[in-house]
């Protein structure tokens, strides 16, 4: 099921947090040991997604990885692309 759960959780969470949900995009690519999700958000929403001291970003990564655990896809990287 190829990381669908992780990507879907990622997009869902980010869309809930930003001011402009329609500007959210999650692009998935393969890496050596797993997959990588590149998240882009609308102007001005990056701060929200990252949060103070990266707390929100950290929480998103934790939750997204948890969602992908069953997928046997190895590591899941979540990058927030500015």
């Amino acid at each position: 099921m190829s990381a669908a759960a992780a990507a879907s959780v990622c997009e869902y969470v980010v869309r809930q947090i930003v001011d402009d949900p329609d500007a959210v995009a999650v692009a998935q690519s393969d890496t050596d040991g797993g997959i990588r999700l590149d998240v882009t958000v609308g102007d001005g929403d990056m701060g929200r997604v990252i949060g103070k001291r990266g707390r929100v970003a950290g929480a998103i990564r934790t939750v997204v990885r948890a969602a992908g655990v069953d997928d046997e896809i190895g590591s899941i990287e979540v990058e927030f692309v500015d």
Binding site: A5, Q16, I17, G44, R48, K52, A59, V63
Partner: protein, 329 residues
């Protein structure tokens, strides 16, 4: 010694609303800035200032200056032999009562008399100080021995600030609505995790709703050592911040699988053990740095223990609680 914790856009405003909660004057409260208001990365994210405050522990004072409106009754030197110590201790939280004053109270030159004139309702006690000080400008009586001039200045300041905070509150979303948002968010998340869940909602305090998420397949949403559950709670907070506004009151906690409750209990037990060690040894013990929520558990737990107090040291994320023998705080 009860601490209240408040948040606002600036530390000054947070202090103000803490004072409103405690119902005391600034001079009679102790503050601890838990975190400054911060503008986050890219100038966008605003983290509200967080301030803790409590009524300053009783210290003997000149008689003339005894006009404190303490919240925590039952401390010996507080309120004794005062005209209305008892009645004003009740229910000071409702800050809306402030400043409406009992006109006419200021005319009583005899303090005992003023306590005796019942019949003006339960609010009488707590609004009495304000009522008097409002009157001070016009009908201050020499016999009261109160610092009339400064009082009335202060109370004018306070009523101004009162108005401001009332305006701020207009945008506040009621807690149950916030809980709806939180629950909806978690439901959507659980669906994407492939878990079927149900929710139990509890009012754990006036200003806190706990949503416990139950289900069969929650392992992944809890995570190792509850890490994922904590992350989800963090996300809930962020979602609420965006959807309910930053001036929201109270707190919605999401507890996946009840792990937080179990963890809190374990932390409380640990704190009681540490408190016992401090009591026996007379030596302060510093705990590991903890997040604000855990520190609150620690403070609250220790507050119920005899012979020990807590203080907080350092700055987040390395802020920690130190358990000290009572009196050393």
């Amino acid at each position: 010694m009860e601490w209240v914790e408040t948040t606002a856009k600036t530390t000054a405003e947070a202090k103000e609303s803490a004072l409103d909660r405690l119902g005391v004057h600034e001079d009679d409260a102790e503050f601890e800035v838990v975190s400054e208001a911060k503008t986050g990365l890219f100038g966008r994210v605003k983290e509200d200032a967080r301030v803790r405050a409590r009524v300053r522990p009783a210290t003997p004072r000149a008689k003339d200056d005894r006009r404190r409106r303490s919240k925590g009754g039952g401390r010996g030197s507080r309120g004794q032999g005062r005209d209305n110590g008892g009645s004003r201790n009740s229910g000071n939280r409702g800050s809306g009562n402030r400043g409406q004053g009992n006109k006419g109270q200021g005319n009583k030159s005899d303090r005992n008399k003023s306590s005796g004139n019942g019949g003006s309702g339960p609010d009488k006690g707590r609004s009495q100080d304000k009522g008097r000080s409002h009157q001070d400008g016009r009908s201050h009586q020499e016999g009261q021995g109160r610092a009339g001039r400064t009082d009335s200045t202060r109370s004018t300041d306070r009523s101004k600030k009162q108005e401001r905070s009332v305006t701020d509150n207009e945008a506040t979303m009621p807690l149950p609505e916030q809980a709806d948002i939180a629950q909806e968010f978690v439901a959507g998340l659980a669906e994407r995790f492939g878990a079927s869940v149900d929710f139990v909602r509890e009012d754990v305090a006036d200003d806190e709703i706990r949503i416990t998420v139950n289900g069969d397949d929650l392992g992944r949403m809890v995570g190792r050592r509850g890490n994922t559950a904590v992350a989800i709670d963090e996300l809930v907070r962020t979602v609420l911040q965006r959807q309910a506004g930053s001036s929201r009151d109270g707190r919605v906690r999401v507890d996946i699988g009840g792990v937080r409750a179990r963890r809190t209990e374990a932390l409380a037990n640990f704190c009681r053990e540490q408190a016992a060690l401090v009591r026996e040894s007379g030596m302060a013990r510093a705990l590991e740095p903890m997040g604000g929520a855990d520190r609150k558990v620690t403070h609250d737990t220790i507050a119920d223990e005899d012979g020990v107090d807590t203080i907080s040291e350092g700055e987040d994320p390395n802020r920690r609680v130190v358990i000290v023998p009572a009196g050393d705080a």
